[in-house]
Amino acid sequence: MAKVDFAVPELKEYPEIPALKMDAMAHSSPFKSKPEFQGPLGFPGELVENWQQQAIAKMGDLLGKYRSLRVYLDACVKCGACTDKCHYYLGTHDPKNMPVARQDLMRKVYRRYFTLAGRLFPQLVGAQDLTEDVLSDWYSYYHQCSQCRRCSVFCPYGIDTAEISMAAREIMDSIGVGQKYCNEIIAKVYRIGNNLGLPGPALIDTLEGLEEDVYDDTGVQVRYPIDKAGVDILLVTPSADFFAEPHVDGLIGYGKVFHEAGVSWTFSSYASEAANFGMFIGSYDNMRRLSQRIREAAIKLGVKRIVFGECGHAWRVAYNFLNTLAGPWDFLDPRYPVPQHICEFTHELIQQGKLNLDKSQNDDKVLTFHDSCNVARASRMGNYPGGQFDIPRAIIRATCNHFYDMDEETIRDRTFCCGGGGGLLTDDLMELRVKGALPRMEALNNVMREKGVTHMAAICAICKSQFTKVLPYYGMNMDQIVSVHQLVSNAIVLTPRDDDQDDDDDSDD
Amino acid sequence: QPTLAADRIGEYVVPSSRAAQVKQCVEPADHMRRYHMELIQHQRDATVRHGIRSTKYSLSNCISCHTGHTAAGAPIAINATGQFCNACHAAAAVTLNCFDCHATIPSGEGWNHEVAQQLLLLPPVSEGAE
């Protein structure tokens, strides 16, 4: 891997809107996907012969299928409100990382081929043919968008650059220009069941190990069942939860919560992945195929409810798309929303007083919370708008004594992406990831200095992985990032059960 | 085939007003249409501030000349619906507050009124004759 040398940006006390630095990130683009990863997703292996026509045709196809694309390519007035909102622009200073400029990469092609003005007066309206240079720009800059939707919040028309970069990626895929990281992973899910390519037996191993660890720690037998049919709940969680730090601490927490709730539950080795990378490449088909695995698993295991673990993008697909892609869910228990977030589950228990939480267990930490972008801006928890902000915070407050929010401009729906979302969590984009994390790092740095914050909790696998990687670049510690359910796990006072001594007999009703 | 319709200046002059019998306004009607507000505004300041009571652009004079009359010869308020001022202003969505204060028919004593008196003595113009 060719390591690029780059300067880690300096953390400032107040966010600054940088001056433009032309083409600062033109060199940044991820590895291209190989034919063997393209095939299983239904994409051509490499750049097709008549790629221009095909790309335009695909674009026309998408324009007819997605109102978002159609409207957003027309509606932008170049007001500039979004220009300083993207963390990649703030971190890299590259003007093409301003959301509107990113859209314009596609808009100029759209204008050229699909609008009267662009056909007649290309210069006047900034229309341009789809040339190789343009394609290379596309590849580069549409892979510098983490689809975090921060730009959409501030755009007067809600123009969502994520929609456009998804479309761009789909168009590129359709002519054989795919991104290695995403496509390889999707192929892996199709083959094995999860992003990390952990086969069933490996999972079982890991989970048994966890059960022992927890037992050693607490003296209480907490179960982490997998592929157990006839239980109430199917827990779908990002595969990182199975072994990476700090993810796995969260997973331990889920188990403890279920244990306390006294419900029966299971993982599925077939649907052992919550994340759905089909969204990143904007492919409805692939997103649907991935989602269907969950449906199949739920039917096969005969569960009554589906709960998702801590993962931002996964939760977006689950909350907003699952019903569309893999519904209807009429065979599940209608008393519960489908799916539910583990935080919703835990929060409800806390409210009902069913969890015995000892806050002092987290007294070694002063916490803040990172709203993961897809949870904050593309989904919800609970039964009112904004529940996704309050519920995780409520859980944190219930599990620890010291909590401070970061700057208001950098949290809730204005939260900054961790810098690694949208299929960019790959080492070949390290420079982008580090620079893109700048706004979040600044806000974190400020609360660390002013409020003495030591740890940042998150509910997204990508955020956690990204921060573990990136924090050290900014002189912080990789273990400053924690899972929310890790806090729960620490604080929870487990109730011993009869079967604690009795390893194998779990007689659930 | 649409044709260019003739556009008549002076079409708003009320037939039963004295103006109907006079050939011209105090300025060419085309100019009056565009600038009457400025003329009377200017006159207004001249009168109030400097005591100039010339009648050429005076509002009372406009009213004297442009008020319509009933068949019986009684003057009709100039801002009444369809009357001279109102006909245009309703169409042009202009609201005047002039007539909060200014008499809408010539009335009262004094030299202004003498002008009005003389106008009143004129035989009312029969309706429709134009």
């Binding site: 006390e13 107040y14 700057d407 208001e408 400020n446 002013e450 | 507050n97």
Partner: protein, 406 residues
């Protein structure tokens, strides 16, 4: 120094919208009553050719001087360098702007011809203190906005001190100007003294702060933000100080008036024989509006209790209205002393025994005045919700880094 973190006011939407709806309803009613007055003419109010300024002016003048007083908090922070007051600056500016707009709106809507507002904005008579006041008021708004900008935008920080000082000068000019509206009326005995301007400055400090404190306590309470004892104690003591200053100026005012023999009659009227006005003066302004709050603010127990502090603020404000009523209406009700040594037996339609002009506020004018208050609060409520005016916390350890819990 620690950064002060400001946050939008985030009380639950239902509460927020009900608050706005309530204020909007009050404003709406005021709007309707204004239309009513404009349609019928001012005969439906209590005002007449003797008492030409009534309830609307009581409210308007009160709000305008309170606006100046509300900005005083920001001045203390910026100009006098009392950093403890800095976090209060933004709200102070917002409240000042709101109060001023509320007051001006009342004034404008009470005009005989509000439709000619544009005339007032475009033709000026520069010998009129009133015309200067139009500049002072609109300028005040501009200055406050610049001031807020210099407090909120980092680019503005370097200018904060200069803008702040300018704002303070402007503020004093504004209150002085408002006082002079009355002070320059040589024809009326109750006015005609420069001390009136001073009195207005003193009143503005007290009333502005009282309103500020109430708003601060309410908004912090609703949003569950910490408002520490240290801050509250400072503000409370400041309020007490301002009330005493005001009392002192009132004393001086009446002493100077009593000194000049020609003012004996009006002094007698206000202080002794003026019926409702005397009552308003002693009971409203002095006892309820000054002494009682002072007692509360210095009482060893009551002064520790937030409810009593709020009550003190409320009383001060009530006293303020009484004060305005006495100053504005009382002084007009007393007949002009045109013929020294002679008693007016008949004055046109007014005949003997009826020479004290009658004035009874009517409902529409009262509603208009209340509407102005609602406008001020409405602006404030919207402002704190959409922009970052309120500091996140005024807890003792936040405002004072050296604070130690004892």
């Amino acid at each position: 120094m620690k950064r002060i973190v400001y946050r939008e006011w985030r009380i639950p939407p239902s509460r927020y919208w009900s608050l706005l709806a309530l204020l909007a309803a009050v404003i709406g009613i005021a709007g309707l009553s204004t239309l009513y007055v404009e349609h019928h003419g001012h005969w439906v109010t209590g005002m007449n050719n003797s008492v030409v300024w009534g309830m609307p002016h009581v409210f308007a003048v009160f709000l305008i001087i309170a606006a100046s007083g509300a900005l005083n908090i920001a001045s203390i922070g910026t100009v006098f360098g009392r950093t403890v007051y800095k976090p209060l600056g933004r709200l102070s500016g917002l409240l000042a702007a709101g109060l001023l707009v509320g007051g001006l709106l009342i004034l404008v809507l009470d005009l005989g011809r509000p439709d000619r507002l544009i005339v007032a904005m475009t033709t000026y008579n520069f010998s009129s203190i009133f015309a200067w006041n139009i500049f002072l008021y609109t300028g005040f708004l501009a200055v406050v906005i610049a001031y807020l900008w210099s407090m909120a935008d980092r680019k503005g920080w370097p200018y904060n001190y200069s803008i702040g000082s300018f704002a303070m000068v402007w503020r004093l000019a504004l209150t002085t100007g408002t006082g002079s509206i009355f002070g320059f009326l040589v024809g009326r005995d109750a006015y005609d003294t420069a001390i009136l301007a001073l009195l207005f400055v003193a009143m503005s400090l007290a009333y502005g702060l009282a309103i500020y404190l109430l708003v601060l306590m309410f908004s912090f309470n609703e949003d569950q933000r910490p408002l520490g004892e240290v801050m509250l104690k400072r503000l409370k003591n400041l309020l007490a100080l301002f009330i005493m200053v005001m009392l002192y100026v009132v004393l001086v005012y009446h002493l100077t008036k009593l000194y000049g023999a020609k003012y004996n009659d009006i002094e007698h009227f206000i202080l002794l024989g003026g019926g409702v006005y005397t009552l308003m003066f002693w009971f409203g302004w002095i006892i309820i509006g000054s002494i009682a709050p002072l007692v509360l603010l210095y009482h060893p127990d009551y002064s520790q209790d937030r409810n009593w502090i709020a009550t003190a603020c409320g009383l001060t404000i009530a006293g303020g209205f009484a004060a305005m009523y006495v100053v504005i209406i009382g002084s007009q009700a007393f007949p002009i002393n045109m013929f020294p040594g002679k008693t007016i037996v008949a004055f046109g339609a007014m005949t003997e025994g009826n020479l004290i002009a009658s004035y009874l506020p009517s409902l529409p004018e009262l509603l208009l005045g209340i509407g102005g208050v609602a406008v001020a609060l409405f602006i404030t409520a919207v402002g704190v919700r959409v922009l970052q005016f309120l500091p996140e916390s005024l807890a003792d350890n936040v405002i004072d880094p050296h604070y130690k819990a004892s």
